[in-house]
């Protein structure tokens, strides 16, 4: 019976297939291709795009704040909705829906907010 040493030696010498002869060349070619490829220009990543992205963030925030202000305060009277007990916070919204200016502000702010949310996605395409 062969000893453990023999078995270990056999396993260590376990014949395994030789790799394809051109493996090194193929790997180096792939690496060269990776390095030589021009960096993919991401339109969103450029300086102009960064500025647009910053603007879109500010615009969306402004739109959101405007919407909230209009919702929580009874624009155009700017009377704060203090009595949540009577009708609750949605009462302010109900009043807003009847005020044309407030509705315009709210819808515009919301539209800007939504548009800025999807702006980066559209530019990447």
């Amino acid at each position: 019976m062969t000893s453990l040493r023999d078995l270990t030696a056999d396993l260590r010498a376990l014949p395994l297939p030789a790799p394809p002869p051109d493996l090194t060349g193929v790997v180096l070619a792939r690496i060269a291709q990776l390095e030589d490829e021009p960096a993919v220009v991401d339109p969103v990543a450029g300086p102009g795009a960064t500025r647009r992205a910053e603007w879109s963030v500010w615009i969306s925030l402004a739109g959101l704040v405007a919407g909230l202000v209009i919702a929580l305060f009874n624009v155009p009277t700017l009377a704060p909705v203090t009595s949540f007990g009577r009708g609750g916070p949605m009462a302010g919204l109900a009043d807003v829906s009847t005020a044309p200016m407030a509705t315009v502000f709210l819808v515009t702010g919301f539209a800007i907010y939504l548009a800025s949310l999807f702006l980066p996605v559209r530019e990447r395409r």
Binding site: L11, P15, L16, P19, L23, V27, A32
Partner: protein, 193 residues
């Protein structure tokens, strides 16, 4: 890590792309053999081996110079091979005789297992190892043939050292069962590393 591997890695880190070829030439044999034993398809093994080297090159900055190079790239290759198996729906297979059908990978594109392994005992052992379940087979190859430590194998396979020891224990049991008609072969009971 051998001194030459370390020198080469440092050269690669300094931007010497061609130096990486030394690493590829030095480790491609073991790595290709390991991957082929996992994916059991020469074309797939070649693809995974290439990917492993490319991945190693692009992540060479993450390599810890205090550790040997082969276990690091073997871990990359094992993960990529596992992904390859998952993509090809071959996650859990007990690949008994399937190996014969991939052209007996002993052959570098030509010849057969018989011509590669002329020693009948080794041929039986090779077939027995090839017939082990995936985890056991990988553990046996990495532990015995590639002489990796149990902890390194565990890291490569993403399991605990206990699992590797269990794999090795079961592998020995399976090998013993398969080789019981080969009384000249005996098996060690404990991993020594």
């Amino acid at each position: 890590m051998t001194a030459s591997d370390l020198d080469v890695v440092r050269s690669v880190r300094r931007g010497d792309r061609e130096a990486f070829g030394h690493l590829v030439r030095g480790h491609q044999g073991r790595l290709f053999g390991l991957v082929l034993m996992m994916v059991r398809e020469p074309a797939g093994a070649e693809e995974v081996t290439q990917d492993a080297f490319v991945r190693a090159f692009t992540h060479i900055g993450q390599y810890d110079e205090r550790r040997p190079f082969y276990p690091w790239i073997a871990a990359i290759a094992v993960r990529l091979a596992q992904n390859w198996l998952r993509r090809h729906g071959r996650t859990v297979q007990r690949e008994g005789t399937a190996l014969e059908s991939v052209g007996e990978p002993g052959a570098p594109a030509s010849g057969s297992l018989s011509t590669l392994i002329d020693d009948e005992a080794k041929r039986s052992l090779w077939r027995a190892v090839a017939a082990l379940p995936s985890g056991e087979r990988t553990a046996v190859i990495l532990f015995y043939r590639d002489e990796m430590a149990v902890s390194d194998i565990a890291r490569a396979l993403g399991v605990t050292t206990g699992t590797i020891k269990t794999f090795l224990f079961r592998a020995r049991r399976h090998l013993r069962e398969r080789l019981k008609t080969e009384p000249e072969i005996s098996l060690d009971e404990r991993p020594s590393r």
